[in-house]
């Protein structure tokens, strides 16, 4: 019963190695092309309107505006790359802003304990998210939505308004800048670099891609997939915690609604997919997310400068996100056939 199995399959494509052009067609690179395109369009529009587009202040503004979202979106990138997602970040941001401001209570000496507490609380939330997903086998959507509700209840129960006080020195995090670069943007850049490094240079990063790419393949290759998912969620939550710290620094207090007002849950997911990371996981990266967040921020800036009302902005955002992801889908399809 010798089967007819001797085979020769032709290579799928002639180009085994991707050239520059191919690289630029990667979704994560495309977002930067879109970004430059948008800046050009913005420039023209604002000039026609009689304004100046990238002034010092608007450049600072863009960075300030995007720092918190940027940091959350980095965490969300990790979760999505691992094939998961996190809907609890918005409430966690509110919670950690309160934890930070309450512990700081206006005293410089309390900054370190407050930061430590924020990191601990957010890591714990991430741990819960991860364990509910892996141990209790609850779909990430429901698991993190449930955890979001739990945090929401606690926050709303304990607080009915801004609370705590962030000392002057810590508020510098929200306001200081070095030349045109705000400290908050540096913090964002720092988080991004760490995440980039983690993803591209550490075993954990490789495992995140593997688990998100194909959990079964990862498992068969000897990767402890559950552990990877749990760690990823811890990291994602810690990013949210850092964003909470930053916002506490900016607001001078903790605020029970700062996370949800900012829409950080869905907006961070939007930024990640805008940056070309596949919602199904395993493909994409931090650079694209940074591009996605900047794209949203530049859109904001253009609308701000043209004083177009926020409702138009929502419409445009919605359209941009869908079109961008459709374009990525087209690229990928075009290449594989």
């Amino acid at each position: 019963m010798d089967t007819l199995s001797r085979s020769r399959r032709p290579a799928l494509g002639s180009e085994a190695r991707g050239g520059l052009a191919a690289r630029l067609r990667e979704p994560t690179q495309m977002v930067f092309l879109a970004l430059f395109g948008l800046i050009a369009v913005g420039w023209v529009l604002v000039a026609l309107d009689g304004g100046q587009f990238l002034t010092m202040e608007s450049v600072v503004g863009i960075q300030q505006r995007s720092a918190a979202l940027g940091i959350v979106a980095i965490g969300q990138t990790l979760a999505i790359l691992a094939g998961s997602l996190d809907l609890s970040v918005a409430y966690l941001i509110s919670l950690t802003s309160l934890v930070a401001a309450e512990i700081m209570a206006g005293r410089d000496g309390n900054i370190l304990p407050a930061v430590a507490a924020v990191l601990a609380v957010s890591a714990l939330v991430g741990l819960v998210n991860g364990l509910v997903i892996t141990r209790l086998q609850v779909h990430a959507f429901i698991a993190t939505l449930g955890v979001a509700l739990i945090i929401r209840g606690i926050v709303d129960h304990l607080y009915d308004g801004p609370a705590g006080k962030v000392p002057e020195s810590f508020q510098l995090l929200g306001y200081s800048r070095i030349g045109p670069i705000p400290l908050s943007a540096l913090l964002w850049a720092g988080v991004a670099v760490v995440a980039w490094f983690l993803l591209s240079r550490t075993r954990l990063g490789y495992r995140i891609y593997a688990v998100g790419g194909n959990e079964e393949v990862a498992r068969l290759s000897g990767i402890r997939t559950s552990r990877t998912i749990v760690i990823t969620h811890v990291l994602c939550s810690v990013c949210a915690g850092i964003a909470g710290l930053l916002l506490a620094g900016r607001l001078g207090a903790g605020a029970p609604t700062v996370g949800t007002d900012g829409g950080y849950d869905l907006e961070s997911i939007a930024a990640v997919v805008l940056g070309g990371t596949a919602l199904a996981g395993g493909k994409g990266g931090v650079a694209g997310t940074v591009g996605g967040v900047l794209l949203l921020a530049i859109l904001d800036t253009i609308f701000n400068q043209l004083e177009i009302n926020s409702f138009v902005k929502d419409v445009v955002r919605g359209v941009v996100i869908v079109i961008a992801v459709a374009a990525y889908a087209r690229r990928i399809k075009g290449r594989s056939t």
Partner: protein
């Protein structure tokens, strides 16, 4: 003898179906041990038990004389076991080097040492004589054969004491198979134990020191390769004589149900073919020769772009179905069944999709395909492979097709069900259906077909009358190699 692996009384069931029972297997250091058996005999399952993917329900596994129980593939890896899985096990989005070292990336000062990883991969590729791609290429850009090489490299990179190869050569070209031979030779010299699974008996006789035969999940025997001839080995695997088994051939072909003239698409060229009522046409060819594509093109799933097809050329599945064409796909689970739906819902899927009538007869149909016992409300995922295939058949029979295409209809189907399916195919032909059958099992193909059409590189290499010799088919299918 220095036993690396020793398995005793291994038993395993899936969803209440016994897949393995009382299997013993010993593999010594420096030995190449072949495991053979029919599709579904349980070879892969046994290997997955060795590698910690499945835990055995009963029995013991010893490595180097120490009992082990692996809870995770990682445990097996740490015990020095490497495996090339039968199914593809790569991440298409990652590079070759990343796949090779997946889960075992070399680190330096806490960071993944890309350079070391890529060098080691390059060296292994070099040893295999593989120069058509490099460590940094994305796996998704590689051909199936190239990907298989990556799998081999992945297993070799472990530096294991025991390497399990589950059909490693299935997608390899001739020269790559020879490299594989040499590599296995080198592993043997280093005292590594190799478990080698293949359906190609030539490889088994070329490589193995001993051979273990599985049949229906049970151990038949383990023999030194010198004590058995190919014919005897086949008899051990199949447990009966093959020739007498198939139902009697057609008594005469009827009207032309479907004909192709110079039809082609991205994969196929100049296909001229007639399918007649009452006739079973077998399609032979090497893997990748375009057999499945031919079936899908006739059916409308990957339509012909050029040429003629009468009565007409379907541009979609629905058009194909409207022409009375049905396709039993080669991958039942991925393409044939909605596994979580009931037997009844699956059987009625085509009828419902096309809004056809005649659904009351589904019970009779299920009886006719000899689904045993006919449990209409059961989810199909709980059925055995053979019963699942019968449900797929029933699904197409609801629309009383004029032409029915079978792609690997008995793959992973046990002997009894296989016979039932064969009988049924002949019955349908006798009732006036035109049948086209693709099978990689030559004996089956030869035994069933009234005519054998051989494909090579997307073209028809030749047509043989009923009952050709295997050699005749092979010569047409692989003339470039011969």
């Amino acid at each position: 003898m220095d036993r690396v692996l020793s398995m005793r009384g291994i038993g395993k069931s899936f969803l209440g179906v016994r897949v393995l029972s009382g299997v013993d297997l010993d593999v010594a250091a420096g030995e190449v041990h072949a495991v053979v058996g029919e599709n579904g005999a349980g070879k892969s399952t046994l290997m997955k038990i060795i590698c910690g993917v499945h835990a055995p329900d009963e029995g013991t596994v010893e490595i180097d004389g120490r009992p082990v129980s692996f809870g995770h593939p990682l445990d097996a890896q740490r015990s020095g076991i490497a495996i090339i899985y039968q199914e593809f096990n790569l991440l298409p989005e990652r590079t070759v080097a990343e796949n090779v070292f997946l889960g075992r990336e070399p680190v330096r000062r806490g960071l993944v040492d890309r350079a070391a990883m890529e060098q080691a991969t390059a060296r292994l590729l070099d040893e295999l004589g593989e120069h058509s791609f490099g460590p940094r290429d994305a796996v998704k850009r590689l051909s199936v054969a190239q990907q298989q090489v990556v799998e081999i490299v992945k297993a070799l990179s472990v530096n294991a004491r025991l390497v399990v190869m589950d059909e490693p050569s299935a997608a390899l070209a001739e020269h790559e198979v020879e490299l594989l031979y040499r590599l296995i030779g080198r592993l043997r010299e280093r005292g590594v134990a190799v478990v080698y699974i293949s359906h190609r008996l030539r490889e088994v006789f070329d490589l193995a020191d001993r051979v273990t035969v599985l049949k229906d999940g049970k151990l038949v025997t383990t023999l030194p390769i010198g004590e058995v001839t190919p014919d005897e080995l086949i008899r051990l695997m199949v447990g009966r004589d093959l020739g007498t088994y198939f139902p009697p051939r057609s008594t005469g072909a009827g009207e032309v149900r479907l004909s192709l003239h110079r039809a082609g698409n991205h994969k196929l060229r100049d296909i001229d073919l007639e399918l007649r009522a009452g006739e079973i046409v077998g399609i032979a060819g090497l893997q990748g020769s375009g057999r499945s594509e031919l079936a899908k093109a006739i059916f409308g799933a990957e339509p012909f772009a050029t040429g003629e097809m009468t009565p007409s050329r379907p541009r979609s599945v629905r058009e194909g179905v409207a022409l009375g064409i049905g396709l039993v796909t080669e991958d039942r689970k991925a393409e044939g069944l909605a596994l979580r739906q009931s037997v009844r819902d699956n059987a009625l899927l085509v009828a419902r999709a096309t809004g056809a009538k005649g659904r009351d007869g589904v019970g009779d149909l299920l009886e006719r395909v000899r689904l045993s016992p006919p449990r209409q409300e059961q989810e199909v995922r709980y059925l055995s492979g053979g019963n699942q295939q019968k449900v797929v058949l029933a699904k197409w029979m609801t629309m009383a097709p004029r032409v029915l295409l079978f792609d690997e209809p008995t793959r992973g189907v046990d002997v009894g069900a296989k016979a039932a399916i064969h009988d049924l195919m002949r019955e349908l032909a006798n009732d006036g259906m035109a049948i086209m059958m693709i099978s990689s099992e030559l004996p089956e193909l030869i035994g069933m077909s009234d005519r054998v059409v051989v494909l090579r590189d997307g073209r028809i290499a030749g047509t043989l009358p009923a009952g050709p010799s295997e050699e005749a088919v092979m010569r047409l299918a692989a003339s470039e190699v011969a």
